[in-house]
Subunit: 491 residues, 2 copies
């Protein structure tokens, strides 16, 4: 969009109208547009958002490859009969599937599903590739888009009918190996949120009644959004033998006995972008940490006619030094815009660090650095600018993370009975931690009036309510408590 | 596949049964599998081939970004009414479109095309984003898969119903700018072939009657395959104003006048992988240059029981040194396989350089290096192994390129009349260069009996037959010649 048409700044309030504020940030910061008429639920991912996705992709892809994963690519269509071979899967996804029924001017004999997830086409190939225990573990991952025809309102990156993600699929000789794999990926997802996106997460598993279709265990990282709702940030599933049995993944072990493999799958979608944008941004627009910012620094020279030459030359030198050091830097030397407009525009677009250079800075061999999240302004020496800037990146990252962590810490509350759970969720949102018997029926009295559910249960070895050495009872039914449950509204 | 089941070596002859030989290389080197039943025309891209694709992607993506292109992502579906807005596009692609007609358990009101190419969904957004001449040039690219339901026989990477590619879409203020863009991308494609894949190409344009639907000019890089057929290696289209008019891309120029933009699109698909595999591979299996090889070096220790410890330690040191220097290296220290088996397996899988280490090498502080394409064996000092290996990579690249170039040079022949064109094509394949009046009708007498066509016409400024200062006549009709035409059979 041309500058001339651009209204800078966000008009909606982040705290009062989080949804509208988010939609406005996404549009005005040039992150995404809505799909064409007739295609509600689809979005166009614009370059600024796609660049964020590429950095997240690069971060995770390197971790995957360092830990034995290879990328591959499978067909985007899945024959209906394949989808049906794992009955839990088709029950899980059938209502959301988009079907190709005509192609090349002919009606197809069998409908083809546009992949909602690829277990049912990848597993049969893994079955062909695995013969011996020496072929295990086998790990493939693909970066692709999938389609799930949900009828809910579109929310860019959070709820869209097509979304970008990665899906990893692995096969292992033992259940323990599959469990290690499941946790390795979950830890990598946690690291992506905490070390790249500056978002602290809660790590645990879904209650047994809410696992991925066909899975033994679904593990999750959950992130808290500013409106008090939880986002499922990524999931990693121990699939047990259900897919291996449905698609016949067998191998001969060291004693030449035939055995059935254990499989896992794990995925992170562009929902992580939604969480990133929503967590840090403000009423000036997009805020992202320097780790993922497409432009990390903007250098804004501030001149009068008589100082223009020297200020511009100095600013160019600074930008060159930064560029040479591998910093993603832009020099904004546009003539037709005043500094105030430029400041607003780069704030809207989420550039984490601004360097202001006027005649004063030139005279004193200095720079004025301004942090995006809070406007903190610091004067630094010109010398060693690249190192100085990196220190400020670390500071900015730490500020963003600390703010998100403080929010999360304050938004985990405890409650002892149904009324307190409902009251706390209603008043504050966030997570409500409570003792739970483990029965799905005890989620209903919260879910029904409040649309909140158990989004996370700590892992067994981290949950004091596992085992008999406590007297806690379920907050809903009063039976013996078996697990700690985190209730929250969720995206 | 487990080693136990693997038959190493290719049984078909590259020169006699190129198609069968190619299919065998693709399967045995673990590059691709065929799609499931009911989905003929689809392939599964296995990790070895996908890693080749990732290197090609990285090479081109960096070039694109260095020259002003930003990545984005658009929906995979296109409403039928959008496809129809550019009449050439709908005529060009309609017979090959796969249609989504049902989704979320409902019949859709409007059919959605699975994108065969994205001009008709990207251009309307470019139209929204462009207001002023300051918004131009606007360049977006996406890496994705597209679907074209062709009824021909499947040939992995060459002919598949779904294929991976990138498609770039740009808008410009003037036709000249759009032409510069078209050529910038064509040059980058040429560089990908010549500097990364070790494949020389012919660069030119398609005859006017064979341009991309809606395009003014389609430019192409053509590569010669070992069976004498030409592969269209990538295309870059000057689209003129046809899409800009159909989708209303207008901008106000410096004088505030409304003007219509000029657009381009350009794409390279995984067909480039097909060309790569087919050009260099042989009857031992896959051959690829070190630039793209997933594993560049394999270190094979050769020991007896009494030398095992020292040989393995030495080999590990070599592999570590190479790994530390950023070389993609594997140490093959498997106990259960003998060196001969390992040699064959790594040759099948296309590792460009093998380092053999036995007690002799250990004693003399040396290494034996064996080149994949020709088995050339060289003894080198252990010291400075990383630099030595890089020199050998350059040598291997040069050998592969020289061989492909020699083939290409020998396969461009001239002919002066229809009989000679047909005879030359029938006897040798390759390219037949001839004078041509420019009329589509004069392609028919070659196309009809021989299934060969004009795959390339040199650019105007490189074609001596453009203009009046020659006496050449069309080899088919005898009228004045206007262009030089390259006839070939093609994929």
């Amino acid at each position: 969009m041309s500058d001339d048409d651009q209204e800078l700044g966000i008009t909606e309030s982040k705290s009062h109208n989080t949804g509208e504020w988010y939609a406005e940030v996404v549009q005005k910061a040039g992150l995404a547009d809505y799909g064409p008429e007739g295609m509600s639920g689809f979005i166009v991912t614009r370059p600024r958002a796609y660049a964020l996705w590429e950095r997240l992709q690069g971060f995770l892809d390197a971790k995957f490859k360092d830990t034995g994963v290879q990328n591959a690519y499978f067909p985007m269509f899945i024959p209906e009969s394949y989808l049906e071979r794992e009955k839990d899967i088709v029950e899980g996804f059938d209502p959301e599937v988009a079907w190709v029924t005509e192609a090349g001017n002919n009606e197809l004999e069998e409908r083809l599903a546009v992949r909602p997830t690829s277990e049912s086409i990848i597993t049969p190939y893994i079955s062909q590739w695995v013969r011996s225990h020496r072929d295990l573990p086998l790990r493939v991952n693909q970066w692709c888009s999938v389609v799930r025809w949900e009828a809910t309102e579109t929310k860019p990156f959070f709820r869209t009918k097509e979304f970008l993600w990665q899906e990893g699929h692995t096969a292992h000789a033992t259940s323990e190996d599959a469990w290690d794999e499941t946790m390795t990926r979950l830890d990598q997802y946690e690291s992506a949120y905490e070390d790249l996106l500056a978002i602290p997460v809660l790590k645990g598993q879904k209650p047994d009644h809410d696992t991925f279709p066909g899975a033994d265990t679904t593990t999750t990282v959950e992130a808290l959004m500013p409106d008090g709702k939880s986002v499922q940030g990524a999931t990693s599933h121990h699939l047990g033998r259900s897919f291996a049995e449905a698609f016949d993944i067998t191998f001969s072990d060291e004693e030449e006995n035939d055995r059935t493999a254990h499989t896992t799958s794990w995925g992170l979608s562009w929902r992580a972008l939604g969480a990133l944008i929503m967590t840090h941004s403000d009423e000036q627009g997009l805020v992202v940490p320097p780790t993922v910012a497409p432009e990390q620094v903007v250098v804004v020279p501030i001149w009068q006619e008589d100082t223009k030459e020297e200020v511009l030359a100095y600013a160019e030198g600074v930008a060159d030094d930064l560029g040479d050091a591998g910093v993603r830097v832009e020099l904004d030397d546009r003539d037709e815009r005043n500094p105030g407009f430029k400041f607003n525009e780069h704030e809207l677009n989420g550039v984490p660090l601004r360097i202001e250079i006027g005649p004063h800075e030139v005279d004193d061999d200095e720079l004025t650095l301004v942090h995006r999240p809070d406007g903190e302004s610091v004067v630094e020496d010109r010398e060693g600018v690249a190192e100085t800037v990196r220190d400020h990146f670390d500071e900015i990252y730490a500020k963003l993370y600390a703010a998100a962590e403080e929010t999360l810490d304050g938004e985990v509350r405890e409650a002892d009975d149904r009324a307190e759970i409902l009251g706390t969720l209603g008043q504050h949102g966030g997570y409500v931690k409570t003792a739970w018997c483990g029965d799905e029926d005890c989620e209903e009295p919260i879910k029904e009036p409040m649309a909140a559910e158990i989004v996370m249960v700590p892992f067994e070895d981290e949950d004091p309510l596992v085992g008999d050495d406590h007297d806690e009872t379920c907050a809903i039914c009063g039976d013996d408590a078996e697990r700690t449950a985190y209730f929250a509204k969720s995206y």
